[in-house]
Amino acid sequence: MYNTTQSVLLAGVGGQGILRASDILSLVLMEAGFDAKKSEVHGMAQRGGCVTSHVRYGTKVYSPIAKKHDINILVSFEKIETLRYLDYLKPTGKVIVNEIEIYPPSVNLGEAQYPSDIIDIVKNHVQEVKVLNATEMALKAGNPRTANIVLLGALSSFMTDINDDCWERVLRKSFTVKVVKANLDAFELGRNL
């Protein structure tokens, strides 16, 4: 158990399954015996805009949102969103990046360019960075909609304080029989990266 509250920030674009992933993560933390809180914003912001979800855990959690420079792990579901929330990360924080690009409107309109050197910039600021293509790995797991679970798998490899069984128990409870195998496979692919 921790004296201080630990924080994970999931960030990406509306429709990427971020809220579902953070629900699962919070349930895993509960299962592991922690007090857990999570927070996000619904409504207008969800229509194709940025979506973030803070997940915090420890012996006793007060605030469901972390302050800047206090996130232990940032999981970015889209490349450029990593940069948007980099200043939430602790100096010792770790980053997981899904290396897919979802163009913001200004890029689609040809008014702005999608930066090409994002991963290098992230690596300049952060010591431990894991880069993966969760979308491709989800296809390998047999279901393109499991990219969020691939990323949870990758996240789990950073969270050594959580027992493997907790993840599996919660994942099994979270999905219907039809899709549970694809999600478990997706989780393993992310975890063993």
Partner: protein, 597 residues
Amino acid sequence: MKALMSGNEAIARGAYEYGVTFASAYPGTPSTEITEEFSKYDGVYAEWSPNEKVALEVSIGAAIAGAKAMAVMKHVGVNVAADPLFTVSYTGTNGGLVIITADDPSLHSSQNEQDNRNYARFAKIPMIEPADSQEAKDYIKLAFQISETFDTPVFLRSTTRVSHSKSVVDLEEPVPRKDTTSIQHNRDKYVMVPAKARLRRIEVEKRMEKLKEYAETFPENRIELNDADVGIITAGMCYNYAKDAFPNYSYLKLGMVNPLPVKMIREFASKVKKLYVVEELDPFIEDQVRALGIDVVGKAIFPYTNEFDPGVIEASMTGTSAGAPLELPLTIPMRPPNLCPGCPHRGLFYVLGRTKAFVSGDIGCYTLSFMKPLEGIDSCVCMGASIGMAHGMSKALGEKGKGKIIGVIGDSTFIHSGITSLLNTVYNRSDVVIVICDNRTTAMTGMQDHPATGSTLQKQKTKELDFAALGKALGIDSVHVVNPLNLEAMKAVVKEELSQDGPSLVISQAPCALLRSRQIDEIIPLAVDPHICTGCKVCLRLGCPAISWKRFEDLGDLKVEKKTKKQDGIAVIDASLCNGCTVCSQVCNFGSIKEVQ
């Protein structure tokens, strides 16, 4: 049993456990899920009312009949419900009546950031404020207990962070249901004519005196004495932020924010060296503490605007900055929310944007069309404002405004508060074109039913409001129903109606893209033929998230011939996002966009 619940789910659960059987509401972020979740429990009645005023009146009726009832709304919804609100404070409630206001500091999904604690004082109604999901579940029960004990409506105030954060909650069994309803005639109490209301007015003051005494012993007002150098008075989510930043200071945690426990505040102030009030938005507690003659620090150091977090409180109290922003070697392109791929509003606003008219807008997904490239609306003030404002503008401009004023309003928003102002355009004869953006659902808040969908909140089949027949009945001679995904048809109707005298009504009707993708089995996406695309970028003016621009050098192996000297790339459609609405193929002058075979 323990469960992870959002504040909204916990409020619904608490109401269910306490035996509440009645809820009425109009959807509005961040309040919507309270009523949605409540409606799923056994043995309860829950409805989407057409607006918050009706929702409150419905719950007042239920409470006078002896039920435990709750009216649920977002902060600005209370403005709509304010008329019955101020007078139900006089009548009292008989059964239990709780009004839930979900405020939105930081305007995540709202047009303003009003602090509804002010309503509690203004209308002389007690208000309690939970800080997390467990408290949300406990406090809704306390709210009903207070209502039943003191014969008063009670406010439960949530904020976005309480409503939409999830935390661990202990579930309990619901109490056995009792039918407490009956018809009781009590004209002295419920007929608020001047002679009777004057007498009830006195009762309100007596009730507030009793509630002030009660606040001193209210179990959720508590002093946590710790380091006596600094004492913090706070309530709601701010308590968690402050405890996170300064776990060792002393706290007066207020569960009830109206009326305040004066003796408890004096006692706490006497025990600490330096006193702060930590509260988002208005200095609601601070001003009252200061009026007691107590020296306190509040808005002198804390911001008036936006929600707090532990960093904001830490920075304000220590005088440090909340952390320098990272220096990045590039600007990150913004990612504002956008209309979905295949959204029927896109076709409508593409057409309206070409008219150069002033488009008086309203509240819903279509408000998003104000952004580039559509720039489809020119104003947005509150639910229902579009029609009244269009009418006023047309009247003020006279001849100059002819053919140049359009009002647009969503289907649910029109039902909420557009019908009377549409009647006004007929009664007072203005030359506006009113467009109902009828996507067959309350889309922005997450697909809620309304009186024109033919289904209730609890999924009962019901009458379906016919907008065209309603328009005719109100006296509008020219009424059209047009599919906004058919650009030519929409263009022709809008052009014709702008040239006519008198108000006209266009019902721009096509299901929300999210509804459509649920309704149809197979979506046939479109694709750009790279060998036909001339790179003219007309399709990009639709702002569809599925269409993007690729420069020739980014095309990889694909070899494309230049069609014009200036051409430097082609449009590309992401098939995984495309909803097959075909609007882009209609704007393409070269026939380069076709269905994927």
